[in-house]
């Protein structure tokens, strides 16, 4: 007999197999965008928060989650979007950070240090940016090439030691 707890665990496992289509080395659970799974009447309701407002992967992720649940539970699944609290890279699980690094993407540092108070404060030039370690050789002698990389969540960097260009997942 399956207990409700078993079913819930199976649904979580199924969602854990859904990867971010733009960074297919990490699952949506490791990315920290799955905020909750609940049984609501005859359907599983999964609450997802988007990484960035304009992330084009959002729709694909919703479809993939629905299909993954249907495969194990054979039931209806709904994906609801929650904007608040806003997603932060601090929610990426430790194993997710390790997988990013292994895939050649420098994982984000703590986002809290990047945050400004919400009161009116303007951003001025020359705010110091923390050093980013090269995911290839570990060197801290790296430089930013562009604020935006292959996706909106990443910046482009280059290592001065091993000369590899790489993506940096920005603290957000």
């Amino acid at each position: 007999m399956h207990t409700p707890e078993d079913e819930l665990a199976a649904v979580w496992r199924a969602i854990g197999g859904v990867v971010d289509p733009e960074i297919p080395v990490v699952s949506v659970v490791e990315l920290g965008i799955v905020r909750g799974v609940e049984r609501v009447a005859d359907a599983w309701e999964v609450t997802v928060t988007p990484t960035y407002s304009g992330c084009p992967a959002t729709r694909v992720i919703e479809d993939d989650i629905r299909m993954a649940i249907a495969a194990v539970a054979g039931e209806r699944a709904r994906v609801v979007t929650a904007l608040a609290p806003a997603w932060t890279t601090d929610w990426i699980a430790p194993e997710g950070l390790a997988k990013l690094r292994a895939a050649g993407i420098a994982p984000p540092g703590a986002a809290a240090s990047h945050d400004l108070p919400v009161t009116a404060r303007a951003v001025t030039f020359g705010r110091p940016r923390p050093a980013v370690a090269c995911p290839n050789c570990g060197s801290l002698r790296t430089a930013e090439l562009a604020r935006f990389g292959s996706t909106v969540c990443k910046a482009q960097y280059r290592c001065a030691d091993c000369l590899e260009p790489f993506d940096y997942f920005k603290p957000h």
Binding site: Y52, S53, G54, F125, A146, F148
Partner: protein, 260 residues
């Protein structure tokens, strides 16, 4: 209490700024000055488009509160003429050369990040939620555009001249960002909208700091467009917007309800 119509109008202002600027940035796709910038401006546009969708979807829901058929985000984007748009005059200005594009972005970003910061404190939870999401994105935008203002301003004689000319040309559209009309006033008084007028000193000090670094001169204030309750926020636009919309809306207008 302000009516639903005022809230609807305010949400259009927020959404249309993002939508129109995103479309402008999209015009650079495939012809950015360098590959990294092509990608960066597109990514900024993508963020702004995502934010616009959130604002416009909410606007459509608010519109339905009065028993009207609330429009979807697509209907709002594709089926309004320029007079129905509520964006700032600044964001609809043409791309020009890259200094023009950067100047427009910088003047807007410095304002946008302040506005969104204030909107995170809105008593309307939906507005506060969208703003909390968007402000994190806007911080990256303003870092990038500020970097470019400094790089071009404190660059070669040619880049400096173009950057200064771009700032001088766009300056008359900046006053509108801080002009509070009756619609906004009613929403500010009830804690829903941000008081744009209060942002101006902060914006000016940030702009001044960047221009000092960039060896650029802050233009002398003269006539400001759209500040007398007759500007982009009230639907009175420069001629550039209707040309832009003609391109942006051509497919859904020619093929209503097309799916892709």
């Amino acid at each position: 209490m302000p009516g639903h119509g005022q809230l609807f109008d305010y949400l259009l202002r927020l959404g249309d700024n993002g939508l129109v600027l995103a479309q402008r940035l999209g015009e650079w796709v495939g012809k950015g000055p360098v590959l990294e910038e092509d990608i960066a401006s597109t990514n900024v546009g993508l963020d702004l488009l995502g934010q616009a969708r959130l604002w416009l979807a909410y606007a459509g829901e608010v519109e339905a509160r009065d028993g009207k058929p609330g429009r979807s985000e697509d209907q709002l984007a594709y089926l309004r003429d320029s007079a129905g748009y509520r964006n700032l005059l600044l964001v609809e200005q043409p791309n020009g050369n890259y200094a023009d594009t950067i100047a427009r972005q910088f003047l807007f970003d410095q304002w946008h990040v302040l506005l969104l910061g204030q909107l995170t404190l809105s008593r309307d939870e939906r507005i506060a939620g969208i703003a909390a999401k968007a402000v994190k994105e806007a911080r990256y935008h303003v870092e990038r555009s500020t970097d470019w203002v400094v790089r071009l301003g404190d660059g070669t004689e040619l880049s400096h001249g173009r950057m200064q000319a771009a700032i001088d040309a766009l300056w008359m559209y900046t006053g509108e960002m801080f002009a509070v009309d009756a619609t906004e006033r009613a929403l500010v008084d009830t804690g829903i909208a941000a008081d744009a007028a209060a942002l101006e000193p902060h914006w000016r000090s940030a702009v001044q700091a960047a221009f000092d670094e960039a060896t650029l001169a802050v233009p002398t204030d003269s006539w400001m467009q759209g500040t007398r309750e007759r500007g982009g926020k009230q639907g009175a636009h420069t001629e550039h917007l209707s040309h832009m919309l003609a391109v942006m809306q051509s497919l859904p207008r020619a093929h209503p309800n097309a799916q892709w």
